[in-house]
Symmetry: C2
Amino acid sequence: MLRPGAERVARLGGLHEFARWPHTILTDSGGFQVMSLAQIRKLTETGVTFRSHIDGSRHEMTPERSVEIQGLLGSDIQMQLDECIRLPAERKEIDRAMQLSLRWAARSRAKFEAMGGPGKGQGLYGIVQGGDDAELRATSARELAAMPFEGFSIGGLAVGEPQAVMLQMLDIVCPLLPQDRPRYLMGVGTPDDIVESVARGVDQFDCVMPTRAGRHGQVFTRFGRINLRNARHAEDPRPLDEASDCPAARDYSRAYLHHLVRAEEALGAMLLTWVNVAYYQSLMQGIRDAIEAGRYADFVAETKAGWARGDIAAV
Amino acid sequence: MLRPGAERVARLGGLHEFARWPHTILTDSGGFQVMSLAQIRKLTETGVTFRSHIDGSRHEMTPERSVEIQGLLGSDIQMQLDECIRLPAERKEIDRAMQLSLRWAARSRAKFEAMGGPGKGQGLYGIVQGGDDAELRATSARELAAMPFEGFSIGGLAVGEPQAVMLQMLDIVCPLLPQDRPRYLMGVGTPDDIVESVARGVDQFDCVMPTRAGRHGQVFTRFGRINLRNARHAEDPRPLDEASDCPAARDYSRAYLHHLVRAEEALGAMLLTWVNVAYYQSLMQGIRDAIEAGRYADFVAETKAGWARGDIAAV
């Protein structure tokens, strides 16, 4: 929206053409920024007004404009504008934000339909809010489920609450959402968050975790989390995982990766990001295979046993 | 030497194994740091003492230790320790540093022979010094050429003097070096520096130019230098060079590359570095082909005509 601008991206053929990415693209609506940029925005029934972090200019975001922008970008999976709030919060405040998000859901859907509705493989998702309040979550899920969205997002979680609270909310929300539409848990999470959420009926995730952790020297493996900054790796000739399909995990020594991280070489961030994205992809593939084979509980037990084994030191 | 340490790299199998790089590796001796770290080092006949930029600890570098370190690293092409000085400089100072470098050349060679001499495809280069003084350059080249080095470096150029002075020094030095040994111009340079130096008999180069320029939004192409930060690229859908073999130059729009550079996305640095390394490689391939075909002068004229054409704006 701000850089390089939705109209500019549209003139350049949309995001797929612009970034040369032929696969699925999901765009968020700006709802997360309503929370994260709380210091520089003003919220009304109409929408949210905020100052650009680039040049300080004033911009208005409404449910309609958000749908319009996502249409200009040409993303496949689009989000309604919602109000995401940080936890813990007062029940009254959670309720207010959830009710506003429902009204914005209806306005978003109307705009989406007015613009032509779902394309081939494209669609707009409604977003469940309600904080950590079981009743408010249920209300939000029921009301949204009655609207004709192509999928349903679960927002406002992983924003400061314990994992147990997040899973409890999923236990309430997932059974209330349509069986035949994808359920997407926004901004989650660790591998453990993912396997637990899938067990409760979540289909889809997005998270900076694998890339951000990689940039900071942390990797996720079959044997749990490893911090490559740790001095114990300095002379360890073993790869992170000799059985991995990912060259960065299989072919480079921990000693070399440790050196790259300590020396702040860009190659360190690149290789460790590769390790993490490959691990997350293999985890999701394992999840799909296990569900299809009807052995998801066994898969979770085996996967957790691997993480619990931990990273064994070189002999 | 300092991070992660030569002995540590040796224990991990040497640089080729450590970095998983099966191709040729060239290491410098520390001579450039004698100049660039002038504020934190002390020079004597024996060698140079300096403080670590990492932890402030004191280290001594001698011609012998430099050869030893490069042996531990296991590089293929190794450099003698020399004293590289910044230009302009007094003739007396240039002479002193050049004479010291010659004595260090002899000590480096003796140590290299004592350690077993050249391996299969490995060798030690002597380094010609002498600043911008024709007579001192000639003395340095003649004295070094009498020593049994596997190749000859030309150091102390591209350190602040005009290109014409550098080329004048090459005109003096190259004819004095053995015909059957590679000549390596250290720390050079732009594509134009390279074609002009090859015309004078240089075989080999090293430079941060393609990677550093890429990180800063600058690319080298058949049609000269392009600064992707420039606002004129913001809506230009054309690739940098539709005829390039490099996907980064051929498949992405200038508009997208411009956006990545402006937004300081790591992908911008990665793609533009790729563009530059690919261009330098294609330039060197073109140089080798033209020499073999006996048409180097024509190649230079054609190549310069392309650069002079410049980057033509989109219509």
